[in-house]
Chain length 281, copies 2
């Protein structure tokens, strides 16, 4: 496994691998957990060269968000990448990525301004800008993303299509704790009791799915999810919505509904989602 | 010479050429003239595979600008490309480029909002978005641009650097008529007499350069250029500025000054520029 720090090193390292086969990129902000491992394994199965990026992107954090607190632990991350047989780890410093200024930005209008985007106003612009840059640096054939960040995935899919990046996207299922809590680097902020409280997000999603599959309306399902979140001591609900999985607007008359929740638990702002099929119950 | 219409065809056509050598891209909106020819020749000298794009990008025209009137003549353009020994011409239709929506956009803040950007508010965002997309489709090693669009070149240079496109940029000198008028596809809008009037833009630049090189201040040079434009019947001046060639803000104390002018002549809005070296006269 090769660890590289600069854009030039990535290009030099990937040039020979590019002609030899397919390149996969697993973009991460480090603090790797079993959710990331599942992406690394999916990439290892699917492509010839697995590239992992480790970069805490300042542009995707709001001014009062947790950029400086975000967990960082490169040596553990490199060990994880090694165990999962990554080929190249791109771990640039902030100067190499030069993402502070926000002069040049990539924006997906609409989708970036609703639901999670309404809660975090410049978040998806920061995501799009760094993803565009990583795609330009690595030029992968396939991008591996986790289902937990469903709206981010929808934004990136739109970015890739609209700007003709010609990269295919593989979305891997959310990895969960036994009680349903979705794995997230931000779970590291939780105390033991907050960790237990946070399972309410998944319980809310299960309740919403049950309602939708029993024929309830979107509004009824949203209310039911809200109630589960609000009933849990230590959980401060942000939103609980039932949306179209691609547009994140009101669901279509036919097809699956994506249930999405966000809540604050202690210092952590957590998100999760689950797909429901109306009238299937 | 291969003429291709779809993104997939570009990729298929370029894949074998990419491993065989360097790829150059000459991005154009068609209506090719001798300025474009000079770009094609520079590309032919410098790279192994010369790609020309012909696409009138709707996103870079404002709502009251000349998108529908913009000159189009594909058969003449293809003949020019053939004569200049281009390898691949990418001439997509609007649906293939899907640039109408403006959902996904690429923005270079600051530089895009001043001088020409102040006169044409969303113009450079439209340019950046289509250039990002063309770079993703063609993935050239070198991009060939004309000096006439100096601010556009500065915007694209910033885009390429900030998003790590890893493409080098070759800027070719402006090609002029014997009376100094810069070649432009929009010169096609000019009547014979307007064509003569339009030479005032270049005369204004020559006057500005003389003043700067004689030690005049930026303000004096700008006033002198304004006077030349205003004195010419049939010319409606927009701006006449002396700026830093990279930032397009006030010039540095040392180094060259870029003189930039814009004016309306009949139906045509024309721009031009010239470099001056303070105190050289």
């Amino acid at each position: 496994m090769k660890v590289v720090r600069t854009v030039d090193e990535v290009r030099a390292e990937l040039a020979p691998r590019r002609s030899a086969g397919a390149i996969g990129l697993v973009p991460t902000m480090g603090a790797l957990h079993d959710g990331h491992r599942s992406l690394l394994r999916a990439a290892r199965q699917a492509v010839d060269a697995v590239v992992v990026s480790l970069f805490v992107n300042p542009l995707q954090f709001g001014p009062h968000e947790d950029f400086s607190a975000y967990p960082r632990g490169e040596s553990a991350d490199l060990a994880t990448c090694e165990q999962e047989r990554a080929d190249v780890v791109f771990a640039p410093n902030a100067a190499e990525m030069a993402m502070e200024s926000g002069v040049t930005t990539v924006t997906v209008a609409g989708l970036s301004e609703i639901v999670e985007g309404a809660a975090r106003p410049s978040h998806f612009q920061g995501v799009c800008t760094v993803v565009a840059k990583l795609l330009n640096i690595v030029r992968p054939d396939t991008l591996f993303l986790g289902q937990k960040d469903a709206q981010q995935n929808a934004v990136i899919a739109r970015l890739v299509a609209d700007l003709s990046y010609g990269v295919s996207i593989t979305v891997c299922p959310t990895v969960r704790e036994p009680d349903g809590l979705a794995l997230s680097s931000r779970n590291a902020y939780l105390s033991r009791s907050q960790r237990a409280d946070a399972a309410a997000l998944h319980r809310a999603l299960l309740t919403g799915r049950e309602r939708i599959e029993d024929g309830a309306t979107v509004e009824e399902a949203e209310r039911a999810m809200q109630e589960v979140l609000a009933a849990q001591r230590g959980v401060e609900p942000d939103y609980a919505r039932a949306v179209d999985p691609h547009s994140f607007k009101a669901p279509q008359d036919e097809g699956p509904v994506l249930l999405v929740v966000a809540a604050r638990v202690g210092e952590a702002r957590l998100i999760d989602n689950l797909t429901a099929h109306p009238g299937r119950g």
